[in-house]
Symmetry: C2
Subunit: 385 residues, 2 copies
């Protein structure tokens, strides 16, 4: 995806820019929840309706169509009231059985989590862990699959927001399908709608994502898309489940209903934002994300900082930047928030204090990024003064 | 609880009445999601914040305290991003192990669901089902527990919203504790905050409820309270779990954080409404619910209709009314909505078309009920004309 600027969106009179007028002063740049433009907040504040009535049916049918369009899939799609982790759990409990052998590819904390969820449900997990800051190597994955006696599924993170690295999910999927019949289960929580992810073209079997990332809605709705292969696997899946049992979602979707009372406010907002993505054009949305990512990386370099991952694998939804050796990253984050009103992401687990992260998914204006880079630059000067 | 009117709340200048000004025309009288006053909608439309920052910690700590105060418990409490069914699933997966014997007491469709969830997780479920429209008989429950070789838990619905019947949960709990060491797991989704439910005094071990009922918030947050006994049982529980694993919620709550990105908008609204309950006074809130319930029952009788359950066991959060033999209940519901702007609940499963239900939990003014009764009366006249 070329990182060319988009004049229409950059213009201060564009709809995207005008949406900023009511924003609070804080520039929230954690990698989700993303800050929301006023129109999305307003739609999310609408009155409750009967979730078993015709108005809800219209909403859920439109959302399903739009979500599938964005992902480029002819498969099935469901909206669950849950955090993004719920979409990862749904991917596992609906396609696997206890004792199944699964390969978990991890390049960071969310990759580890996906493996942990599988293990919690009695799946036999073989783990390949790549160094934090690196992407998964398809040839290493090929070797590992060849060495496994059997492999029911591979679980893998598309965009590892803990390290700011994007996995080559297309290459990984190709290798997995070359070498096995394994299902490809993808945690796309922080990638989908921000970077290209043509689900069917890339042969992905389950894609899980969440409303509070590039989808520009509040957290609370986990989104799950399933290929026909995944649906067939689900019919034989023996992991115990109830709330996340996709059977119930499918059965009720036929009636334009949810099986359980859904988070209506988030549904309203997500429906609105899904339609905005379709209206803006998916290609345009992806170009805009790439441009904002490039702006962030360029800005970091301009103020003398080093990207944590190599630029070639750097995420287009969140940028991880090394904290200079003489600076405590935790102090940097709190100073930028307290003094400059920019809320950065810190490092997690083994990266705590060592990196900062700037989220640029969803609704992001060029000045959001400029302000963030400025705040980092000024904070470094303050801390070194 | 005496059903005496409360002058302060009835007054057209009361805060409760003033909250109506911005309501849409539709009078939403399904038993949840409940309609929300403007201030709750407004709070729910606030901008996103960092869910791992100090502002969120203040919110979650205040909510936890207020929720425990309303339930009268010294135990633990958690907020999960899920539908009410998630609270029932959390009750089961956190306290039981596959093969455990459990007694399921059912008086309607939600009672059946609680047993179904236990069964889905490999628990051996013995079911007592009472006729729809009746409450559970504590002496029948006593006999059943005596006849069981062992009983790890009893799962029971407090308020069965499918039939408008409230179970005598205090008597049931006493009998269960008299006869066994079983945990008492209560589905209080449609009862808590609307009817008395002093959790510790009544010896309840897990109470599950949900934001969109008497708590006056949008759907999306499941609430779970656990006694010390339940917490000890949880340490030995072997049902596989991840998203609903209460261990993670407890660990993160110590840091004022959620384990997974929560539905912030619903959290904002629920925090606001929990504080409003505390400020109004729990006793006053319960008195108001009882008054509105009595108003509904009196209204139904005044227009010549018969309550579905006996008045002595009728719910104070939702009233089920028999549809006259010459009328199709489904037509009644759609006519009342289309012509009179009142959205009633219909009958579910075996009661489809045979009853209508009027919800009166949460934020309900006397005129909401009067309008509903009027709409039913006029609809009956229209259908008979």
């Amino acid at each position: 995806m070329a990182a060319r600027p988009n004049a229409a969106i950059h213009s201060p009179t564009s709809p995207l820019a005008r949406r900023r007028e009511e924003m609070s002063d804080l520039n929230l740049r954690i990698p989700g929840p993303v800050p929301l433009p006023e129109d999305v907040l307003e739609v999310g504040g609408r009155q409750m309706i009967n979730h078993r009535g015709p108005e809800f049916a219209d909403i859920i049918n439109r959302m399903t169509t739009n979500f599938k369009t964005v992902l480029g899939t002819q498969g099935r799609a469901y909206f669950l009231t849950a955090s993004g982790t719920g979409s990862m759990e749904a991917a596992i409990v609906n396609t696997l059985s206890p004792g199944d052998r699964v390969l978990s590819i991890s390049i960071g904390s969310f990759g580890n989590r996906f493996g942990d969820i599988a293990e919690a449900y009695g799946v036999e997990v073989t783990r390949i862990e790549f160094e934090w800051g690196k992407a998964a190597d398809p040839e290493r994955v090929r070797e590992e699959i060849r060495s496994m006696q059997e492999c029911a599924a591979v679980v893998v993170t598309h965009n590892e927001s803990s390290t700011g690295v994007m996995n080559p999910i297309d290459d990984l999927s190709r290798v997995i399908h070359d070498e096995s019949d394994a299902l490809v289960l993808v945690d796309a929580v922080s990638s989908a709608a921000g970077v290209p992810l043509p689900m069917d073209d890339w042969g992905l079997d389950v894609v899980g994502t969440a409303s509070q990332k590039s989808w520009v809605a509040p957290p609370g709705i986990a989104m799950v898309a399933m290929s026909d292969r995944a649906w067939k696997a689900h019919e034989n899946s023996k992991i115990p489940k109830y709330y996340f049992d996709i059977d119930q979602y499918e059965k009720f979707l036929q009636m334009g209903q949810p099986p359980f009372t859904p988070a209506l406010s988030i549904i309203y907002a997500l429906d609105h934002s899904l339609q905005a993505i379709i209206d803006e054009g998916i290609e345009e949305v992806l170009i805009r994300h790439a441009a904002r990512a490039q702006q962030t990386r360029d800005g970091a370099k301009r103020i003398g900082l080093e990207l944590f991952p190599d630029q070639s694998i750097a995420s287009d939804t969140v940028t991880a930047i090394r904290v200079p050796d003489d600076i405590d990253g935790k102090v940097l984050v709190s100073h930028a928030r307290d003094v400059y009103n920019v809320e950065l992401g810190g490092g997690q687990e083994k990266l705590a204090g060592k990196i900062i992260r700037i989220g640029h998914m969803g609704w992001v204006l060029p000045e959001h990024i400029d302000e963030s880079i400025d705040a980092v630059e000024k904070t470094l000067a303050d801390l070194r003064a």
